[in-house]
Subunit: 412 residues, 2 copies
C-alpha cells in the first residue's frame, strides 16, 4: 500500500463538474489500494474575485486580513471535494491549514512553512479516510492565518508529502507534463519522461510555468518524487526526481524563454572596488530582484555595468540607477525593456564541452545578436532583442534536436 | 468607557460600499470613547451561492463539510471590514470562531455555543484594536468547524457580549427597530422604544423577523441589553431589555401573524389517557415541530384533537396522522393548509382582564371566525382562515390602539 499525495490546481477544480471528476480520480487511486492525501487550490477565478473585493476598499489592504480573506478560497474547495467523495461512498475529511497545524512564519502573503503536524492526518488515514487539505495556507505560532504566496499549493503538497513520508507527490495540472519547450512556440516540443530536480529548478526559474521553484526546492531537499501530470487525461506525465535516478543525462533537456525582464546599462562607471554594490544596493533595497549582472571593464579605467530587472519594476529601477549614476559620475544610463532571455538547460552540459559555443553559433546563423550571456553549471542564458524570442527558441530546440526521442533510453 | 458589541447582518454588509459605511459607523462609536467588538454575517447572497455549489454535487451533502464551506462567508466579511477599518486609520483585527475559541457542541449546521474564551478578544481590546468576529460559527472540542444555524450571527453577538460583560449588544439590521406590527400590512404600525425579552421572544416565535428567538433567549439568560436599529440611518431603534427596566407595561405591545402553518384535526378519537401521545408521538418522531394543540372532549366519549404544523411538513404530518387515526380507530382526519395564526403580545396582559374577550370581539365584528385559540401569560393566538390574515392584523392593531404613542411615558 503506497501513500500518495495528489495536488490539484485551480483549473482542475475550476467548477463543480471538474471537482466531481477529481473525486472520481481520487477514488480510482484509493481503490488501487493506496492511501490518498489530496491538496487543493482555490477554484480558478476565486482568488481574483476576493482580491477585487478588497481592492474596492483600499489600494493597500492589510496583509494579515488579505490572508484571512484569500484562505477561504481553498477552504471552499476542500469542503466541496469532500462532499463529492462522500456522495460517492468514499469516506473523506477536510482539513484547513489550521486544522492540520501547518505552522509557518508570520510573513503574511508569502509565509514559509516551518513545521507540519502529521498526527491529525495520520489518524484520518488510519480510519481509512481520504484526507483533503487546503493548499496555500497555514497558521503562525500566534494562530494568525497565513498564505504561502505564488505556487503555494504546490509547496503545501510537497511539504505534506515530505512530512508524511509519502511515496510520491502527484501534481495535477492543465498540461500533460514538463516539455522540452513551450509547445505554443515550438510545435515539435516533446514531453519529458523524467527530469532532475536541478533541471526543473532552472526551467521554473527561467519561466516554465508548470511548477513553482519553491515546491521544487522543497522536493529536492526532502527527496520527494514529483509526478507532474494532467487532470484531464490519464497520460503518464513527467517524473521530477534525483539526478541519480536518471540513467543518462541529456546534454540539453529544455529551452525556455522569459519576456518579463528589462535591461539597464550604466555606461562609464569609474572602475573601483565597490562600484557594483553602490549601483545595485539602492535597487535591491527597493525589493527589486536583479537577475543577470554583467560588468565589462574598458581600457580607459571605466566599466559598463548591465543588469536585468522584472519589467514591472523597470521604471523604479531606472530612476534608482539614474540617481546612482549621477553620484558615481557615470557617463550615461541606457535602458531597453524590449528584450527577452532565452535559455538552454541540461544536466549533461556539465560533462560536455562545446554546448555554449553551439548555442551562440545557432543564434548567430539566424542573425540574432546576443546582448548579455550568463551561465551556471547546467544552464546558459542569453538576452536578445525581444522580437527574435520565438525564432531563437525554435532554432535552439531544433538545433539541439530536442524534439527527437533520446537515443539512450531513460531508466524507466 | 463602555464596551459595545455591534452586530451587522448580511444586508448591512451586502457589498463593499456598505462595508465601508459600516466601518465609518464603527469608527464613530470608537471615537465616542467606546471599545467596540463587531460581529458580522456573510455578505447577502453568499450563503446561497455556496449552498448551490454543494447542491451541484449531491442532494445530501455531508453536514461537517457544509459547515466548512459556509463558514467562509463570514470569514471573508471579517477580513474586508478589518481592511476597511485599517484603511481609515483605525487599528482592527479579525477573528474566526476558531481564533476566538467559540466552543460549540458537534451538531453541525445547528451547533450550540458552550463556551467562549474571552482572552484573545480582551488582549486585542487592551491593545486599542477594534475586534471583528465572524458570526454564525465556532469549533467543537475536536477542532471541527461548526455553524450555528438560523439566526446564528445574532446568537454569536449576544454570547460574545455576555462573555465579555458588554454594556450593550447593538443589532444592526435593515429595519429601524421592532414595530407594533408588520408595517407592510399595517401602515399605522409604530416603532417601539422598549420591549421586554419575553415580549420579544413571543413576537420572534410568532413570526416577527427582526431577531431570532435563540439570541433573545441568550440575551434574557445573561441579561444583555439588545439594541435593535438600522444600519442605514441614525435612528435610535428599539431596546430589548428586562421587564423591570420598562416603567409601564402595555396591555398589548404588538400584533403578529404567521402564514407558515397548516391545521390537522383528528375527529372522533376514543377519549382515553395517552391518546394525544399516540397521535402526536409519530409526528414529533419525524422531527416535525407541532405548534398549537387543542383537544375538545365530546359528549359521546370521543374527542377531537387539532394541531398545527409548519406548512413544509404538512404532507408528511398528514400521512402520519392518517395512520395513527386508523390505529386509534378515529372517525376521520380533516386538514386545512389555508390558515393563518394571528397573535397579540403584551406584558400588561398578565394584570388586565378582558384582553382576550376584546380580541375575540374585534375579530367577530369583522366576521372572522376563530378556529383555534391558544394562550400564554403574555400572548393570545387565534387560527383563522388565511384570507382574513391582513384584515385581522389591522383590525387588532387599530382596536388596541397600537399606532398611538402610549399615554404613560416609558422610562427612557
Amino acid at each position: 500500500m503506497a501513500l500518495i499525495v495528489q495536488k490539484y490546481g485551480g483549473t482542475s477544480v475550476g467548477d463543480t463538474a471538474r471537482i466531481a471528476r477529481v473525486a472520481d480520480r481520487v477514488i480510482r487511486t484509493r481503490e488501487s489500494g493506496n492511501q490518498v492525501i489530496v491538496v487543493v487550490s482555490a477554484m480558478a477565478g476565486e482568488t481574483n474575485r476576493l482580491t477585487k473585493l478588497a481592492a474596492d476598499l483600499t489600494d493597500t489592504p492589510s496583509e494579515r486580513e488579505m490572508d484571512v480573506i484569500l484562505s477561504t478560497g481553498e477552504q471552499v474547495t476542500i469542503g466541496l471535494l469532500s462532499i463529492a467523495l462522500d456522495a460517492r461512498g468514499c469516506a473523506a475529511r477536510s482539513f484547513t491549514g489550521s486544522q492540520v497545524r501547518i505552522t509557518t512564519d508570520s510573513a503574511f502573503s508569502k509565509a514559509r512553512i516551518q513545521k507540519i503536524d502529521d498526527s491529525a492526518i495520520r489518524q484520518a488515514l488510519d480510519r481509512g479516510e481520504v484526507v483533503v487539505v487546503a493548499g496555500f495556507q497555514g497558521i503562525d505560532e500566534a494562530g494568525n492565518i497565513t498564505t504561502l504566496g505564488r505556487g503555494g499549493s504546490d509547496t503545501s503538497a510537497v511539504a505534506i508529502a515530505a512530512a508524511l513520508g509519502a511515496d510520491v507527490c502527484e501534481i495535477y495540472t492543465d498540461v500533460d507534463g514538463v516539455f522540452t519547450s513551450d509547445p505554443g512556440v515550438v510545435p515539435s516540443a516533446r514531453m519529458l519522461d523524467r527530469v532532475s530536480y536541478d533541471e526543473m529548478l532552472e526551467m521554473a526559474s527561467l519561466g516554465a510555468k508548470v511548477l513553482h521553484i519553491r515546491s521544487v526546492l522543497f522536493a529536492k531537499k526532502y527527496n520527494v518524487p514529483l509526478h507532474v501530470r494532467s487532470s484531464f487525461n490519464d497520460k503518464e506525465g513527467t517524473l521530477v526526481t534525483r539526478e541519480e535516478d536518471i540513467m543518462e543525462a541529456l546534454e540539453v533537456t529544455g529551452v525556455t524563454y522569459n519576456r518579463d525582464e528589462a535591461k539597464i546599462t550604466v555606461v562609464g562607471v569609474p572602475d573601483q572596488p565597490g562600484v557594483a554594490a553602490k549601483l545595485l544596493g539602492p535597487i535591491t533595497d527597493c525589493n527589486i530582484i536583479v537577475d543577470m549582472i554583467v560588468q565589462n571593464v574598458g581600457t580607459d579605467g571605466h566599466a559598463d555595468v548591465t543588469f536585468t530587472v522584472p519589467k514591472a519594476d523597470f521604471k523604479k529601477a531606472l530612476s534608482c540607477a539614474q540617481e546612482a549614476a549621477r553620484e558615481l559620475r557615470a557617463r550615461e544610463v541606457l535602458s531597453d525593456d524590449r528584450v527577452a532571455k532565452v535559455s538552454i538547460v541540461g544536466m549533461g552540459m556539465k560533462n560536455h564541452a562545446g554546448v555554449a559555443s553551439r548555442m551562440f553559433e545557432l543564434l548567430s546563423k539566424e542573425g540574432i545578436n546576443i546582448q548579455i550571456i550568463s551561465t551556471s553549471e547546467i544552464k546558459i542564458s542569453c538576452v536578445i532583442d525581444d522580437k527574435y524570442a520565438e525564432l531563437a527558441v525554435r532554432t535552439l530546440h531544433d538545433g539541439f534536436e530536442l524534439g527527437k526521442e533520446p537515443a539512450v533510453a531513460e531508466n524507466t
